[in-house]
Symmetry: C2
Subunit: 152 residues, 2 copies
DNA sequence: TTTGAAAACCAACCGAA
DNA sequence: TTCGGTTGGTTTTCAAA
């Protein structure tokens, strides 16, 4: 799909605030409401806009902690990876999981309420994940920046 | 603010799809439309729902790459940190930045279009960040899971 | 919880580039 | 032919009863 400057303006705006009415959005990108709505619909249908979601405040929600956890498996076979990944997907406390290049490790992002919660996650959830041989956690002192915006 | 099971159901649902109409949402959480709307408004006003945003598909957008970059500064003074963090916030390709516990490093999440783009970011953006003495990048082969949902 | 007015959506149609 | 604008019926919101 061809994206022009107006489409980019729509995407930038909606990545900041998807609750804008089409009327307001159309003003910001200097378009008529109907043209704006048509473009937005196309961006959704094309799959470029995948979904629109509510973002919660982790502190207000009582889940202020973030840790990055490196995990090494005892085997890199396809089956071992699939088993591990299926288990990861089922754990809500693991909000992100990446397969790393180079050393066949995984990097997990884990969110937690407090130190006790992190310990629970470590011992009851992470350690029992299938195939795990090494776990190394990096706690974060502070979130400097966290954006869902893609630099379109 | 007091959160009960129905509030949690609303939050879980809106974290998946914030485009639901109030009527649809109210059915899913087994509430009347007006009661549901009142609760949702309260959740927004309380700050628990911080914003609602459009999530783009990185592949369709042509920005499929993710790297995690560890950065060490030559100084940990308040002023050095502030300067570094202000610079980080101004870079759209750096989508996340955490101050790590333990070794006073930062962990950055960087998104990129292709290998050439990553090299550009590395040499033109990351290396010139104020105070940087060490940069270590971890590329990701694959995104196994990436969720914006908090485990409420 | 119900209701009704105001607002927003969005499909169909028209016109210009 | 494609893209933006206009119109009007339909849906949704949301505050008052």
């Amino acid at each position: 799909m061809k994206i022009d400057a107006v489409d980019r303006a729509i995407l930038i705006t909606l990545q900041d605030d998807a609750k804008l009415t089409n009327a307001e959005l159309s003003e910001r990108v200097h378009l008529s409401p109907s043209a704006c709505l048509r473009r937005t619909k196309l961006l959704e249908e094309s799959g470029l806009i995948r979904r629109t979601v509510a973002i919660l405040d982790p502190r207000v929600a009582g889940i202020p902690g973030t840790a990055y956890v490196s995990v090494t498996l005892d085997s890199q076979g396809r089956k071992a990876l699939d088993t591990f990944e299926a288990a990861v997907r089922a754990v809500p406390e693991i909000t992100e999981c990446y397969l790393l290049a180079g050393q066949h490790d995984y990097l997990l992002r884990v969110v937690y309420r407090d130190a006790a919660d992190l310990e629970r996650i470590h011992t009851d959830i992470l350690t029992p994940l299938p195939g795990v041989v090494r776990i190394q956690s990096q706690l974060t002192l502070r979130t400097v920046k966290r954006s869902t915006k893609l630099p379109i």
